[in-house]
Every structure is written in C-alpha cells, then in structure tokens.
C-alpha cells in the first residue's frame, strides 16, 4: 500500500520479470528473474494488471480465460473444467460468449482476474483487484483469495482499499517515494496514525471512531465492526443502567 507514484506497480512488475532490476536481483523460488523469460516465470507467477485493458485481447470471455491454459498445454477436459469453475467464482458465467470490450469496467477487471486464476499459479500478484467491484463481488473475491492463501499460495495485492484490507488482515508493506517505509501486520500498521498519514492512507473507519473514544478507556487499535460492537457492549453492560 502507499501513495500514488510510490513505486508499487513498478516493484511488483519485477516479481514476474516484466521489469528487470537495473541493480540488485530478484529471486522467485530461487530463480534469478534476469536469467529466465517472462513466459517461463508466468507458469509460476500470475499477474493481474491494474488496468484490465492492458491485458485483455480475445473476442470472447471464454477465449480470454482459456488462452493461457491452452498455451500451457492443458488437455481439453481440464481446460473446460477450469474455465467453468473460475467463471462461476467470478460471477461471469452469463458473459462467457460476450466480448470483454463490451463489458462494464468492473466486469472487465473480473475477466482479467479469471484469466490468471484459471491456471492456478503458485504466486498471485493482483494490482488493485477490487477496482469497480461492488461489496458483494469484493466479498466473493476476498473469500476466494483467502482460500487460495490457505492452500499455500503466495498472494500479493496492491490496493488503496483500506476497508477491504481490514477484512483480510494480511501482512502489510507500505511504500513511499520508491522506498519501503514499514512492514508488519495489518492491525499494527493500519492503526498507527503517523505511518498511515506518511503513506498517504487514512485510518480505517472503525479505528477513527475508537481514536475519538480513547478518553473513555477504549483501545486505539480496533479495526473490525464486530470487535467494535463487542467492546461497546462490554462497556455498557458493566454500566449503571444494566
């Protein structure tokens, strides 16, 4: 996470070899990205671009999603199963025969996600995956990403969506002016007002509420709605009226 222009996209483009470092090196699973092609790395590292239009080119959604699978040499049956599954997960089944260019912005973003998720890479890099998504789609996406992560996949998300992040509670790396300025768990980073403003973020809504309740003895590092409710209820049931 971090300021516009901080270097997030530039950095993650190094993880699948799209960009090569002018100094230093990037190792992916022990392989130096300078010594392999993007195509070789792609099997391992799936990358969804910030702007889906940089990624989509096929005539139908179905072709788009099966393109990489064909290239990687999967058999017909596997391809059709995978396509079916991923279209379903991203709520795109009814668009399978549509042109990606005739879809809405949020739908195009989901096609871009589908086309990468279909080949099940070990490492997933998602640049702003929640753009254009309503809260229902975001929640589906979140559950799917969490599931992949539990299966042992490495997931790297670039995002400005603070509230989405509070629901995932990942490790967070903050960038500013081309440098990493913090690296820690979500609760610790997102409730640190100095870090948050230095990285041009805002505190989560619930954290902002609890910062203002500090005089009443509430903790400052609250990020979720359910813990917020619990804390307030606890306080009240100990009170005079109940």
């Amino acid at each position: 996470m971090g300021q516009n222009g901080a270097g997030k996209t530039t950095l993650v483009k190094h993880f699948n070899g799209l960009l090569k470092p002018s100094k230093g090196r990037v190792l992916i699973d022990g392989i130096d990205t300078r010594h392999v092609s993007v195509a070789t790395l792609a099997r391992k590292v799936g990358f969804v671009f910030q702007n889906p239009d940089h990624q989509l080119f096929s005539e139908t959604v179905e072709d788009e999603v099966s393109f990489a699978l064909k290239n990687f040499g999967f058999d017909e049956k596997t391809i059709s199963e995978r396509v079916e599954k991923v279209l379903n997960i991203l709520d795109l089944t009814h668009y399978r025969k549509s042109s990606p260019f005739m879809l809405s912005g949020g739908e195009r973003k989901r096609v871009a996600l589908a086309s990468v998720l279909s080949w099940d890479p070990k490492i997933l890099i998602l640049d702003e995956p929640t753009i254009g998504q309503d809260s229902y789609q975001k929640e589906r996406l979140r559950q799917f990403i969490m599931q992949l992560n539990q299966q042992g996949k490495t997931v790297i998300i670039v995002t400005h969506d603070v509230e989405f992040v509070t629901e995932c509670e990942p490790r967070i790396i903050l960038m500013k002016n081309g440098r990493i300025i913090a690296d820690g768990d979500a609760r610790e980073i997102l409730t640190d007002p100095n870090l948050v403003s230095e990285a041009s973020l805002v505190l989560p809504e619930i954290t902002q509420v609890f910062m203002r309740l500090n005089d009443y003895g509430f903790p400052r590092n609250v990020i979720g709605v359910y813990e917020a409710k619990r804390l307030i209820l606890e306080r009240l049931s100990g009170g005079f009226m109940r």
Binding site: D53, G132, Q133, Q208, Y216, V225
Partner: protein, 284 residues
C-alpha cells in the same frame, strides 16, 4: 427547472440482446450532490454516458425516451458542445489523456473555451495544485502511475468548472488520503459554485458524507432514491450488494442489541459523537 431530466429513458447498445437500462425517470436539480451506486454492471456508466452525449453520438445503439441536460438535448448537440456544460471523469483515466504533457492536458479544454491567457493560467495552476500534481506538470501523461493519471483526468475537468461534473469511480486509483482531499475539493466546488455533482462510487465510506442524495441502480433500473441516512437503512440497498459504510454497519449491529444511536452516522466523527452520548447516559 431540473438541470438533468430523463423521462422513460431506455438504452440498448448496438448488437446487445437487452437494454443496459430501462425506463429511467430522473430529475436532478442544480447544486445537488448525487451519489450513484449499485452492483457492478448495473448500468451506472451507461446512464452517465447519456449526460454528455457520448450516448448516442459515440456508442450508437438505440436511445428511447427523452433526456435534457443543462437545457439541451444531448442527441442534438455535438459532444464538444455538451462538454462545455458537463465535465466527465472516465472510469478508466487512460482513455481520457492525450496531450504530450500533464499541463497541456489540463489546459486543453480551457483553451477551447477561449478564456483569457491569465485566467487559463490561474485555473490550470489551481487544478494542478488541488489534485497534487503540480510537480508533474511537465511529465508525459502516459508515463505516470495509475493514480497520477487519474488525478490528471480529474484536474482537467475541475479546471473547466462546468455546470455539471460527472465522476465515474474517480477514486478507484487514488491513494486514500488523496481521494479524501480531492473529494473535499469537489464538495467545496459544489457548495461554493453550486456545481451539480454526480459521483459514481462503490466505496461509500469515502463518499457518503458529501452526498445530499443516493441513487441505487440494479439491473438497469433505479431501485432507490433517498437521502443518505435513509438509503443505507433500506433493505434493498443491502440486497443488491451495495456496501454501506462501516460506521453504518456498526450502527445497525448495535441496534440489533437494543442500543440505539441518536442518528445514522455518515462519518467516524458522527459515530463517535453518538456513541459518547450513549456512554454518558449509561453512566447516568
């Protein structure tokens, strides 16, 4: 008289099987700040494309019913004419940038209005500053980060100070602090210059507090048109997957347990205030 008025408006893209939206009736008065939201693909962008004539001029298709924007019928005026009344920030900022430098991009529309030199200079500088890209003014728009490009697109529209500003998910690429400060600038333009604002957003946490009215669309229809505090309590809003702000979620969760905050909060400040009231009265 309403600055935007749509009656029985129905639109179908070329070759599409069904309309992208159907029988939309809508009146927006001058000076309103409208938040337009609804599930991905429900027709928000399509509706906005009718406000500045991109539909029908650019997209073709069939537009039925009637629409009048700033006293004009968009179908009878060229897109550049409509652009003098309606500023439009696209969902994808890249589609909107064309000049060789950021500064030229922002100045382009103003030069076409035939304003005096120093007025152009003043407005361009102001727009570059409020969107935080003054230092990038000599850079090429295509060599900027996603969020920087989005700021250029927003600056170009703000500089024009048109009667109506339509912003289609303008904060999607912006870092949260910039999103907040840019929305505040837009809110100020709305109040001080009485500019009508139509903001398409999913992240209501950021936008709810500025809106005077929330319109929710679903499957090509307007299903709700309310002031924000009421809109977020409606069952319909939740059903179609509109993400209500976290502070409203907290309000609803507390209500389930019989704790009634004095009003539906639209910002953390409002939420904290109401919670303090409850705590104080609990203490007796």
């Amino acid at each position: 008289m309403a600055i935007i008025r749509a009656s029985n408006l129905t639109y179908t893209y070329p070759f599409a099987e069904k309309p992208a939206f159907k029988n939309v009736n809508l009146e927006i008065e001058r000076g309103e700040f409208v938040l337009l939201t609804g599930p991905s693909g429900c027709g928000k962008t399509t509706l906005c494309r009718c406000f500045n004539g991109l539909i029908p001029h650019f997209y073709g298709g069939t537009l039925e019913g009637e629409i009048i924007v700033a006293g004009l019928k968009p179908s009878e005026h060229a897109i550049y004419e409509m652009a003098q009344h309606v500023g439009f920030v696209f969902q994808n900022p890249e589609n909107q940038l064309f000049a060789l430098t950021v500064e030229k991009d922002v100045a382009f529309g103003l030069e076409n209005l035939g304003l005096p030199r120093d007025e152009i200079r003043r407005r361009v500088d102001w727009a570059l500053k409020v969107t935080g890209i003054y230092d990038l003014k000599d850079r090429a728009p295509f060599e900027l980060s996603g969020g920087q490009q989005q700021r250029v697109a927003i600056a170009s529209v703000l500089a024009m100070q048109p009667e109506i500003i339509v912003l289609d998910e303008p904060t999607s690429f912006l870092d949260p602090l910039s999103a907040k400060s840019i929305l505040e600038v837009i809110h100020r333009l709305n109040r001080e210059l009485n500019i009508t604002v139509i903001l398409v957003e999913h992240r209501l946490d950021l936008a709810a507090r500025y809106a005077s009215r929330v319109i929710v669309m679903d499957e090509g229809q307007i299903i709700l048109d309310e002031e924000p505090r009421k809109a977020f309590l409606e069952e319909k809003t939740k059903m179609v997957g509109v993400g209500i702000p976290k502070v409203v979620r907290l309000y609803l969760l507390l209500r389930e347990d019989g704790i009634n905050l004095s009003r539906v909060p639209l910002s953390p400040d409002e939420a904290a205030e109401s919670i303090v009231e409850v705590l104080e009265s609990d203490r007796g």
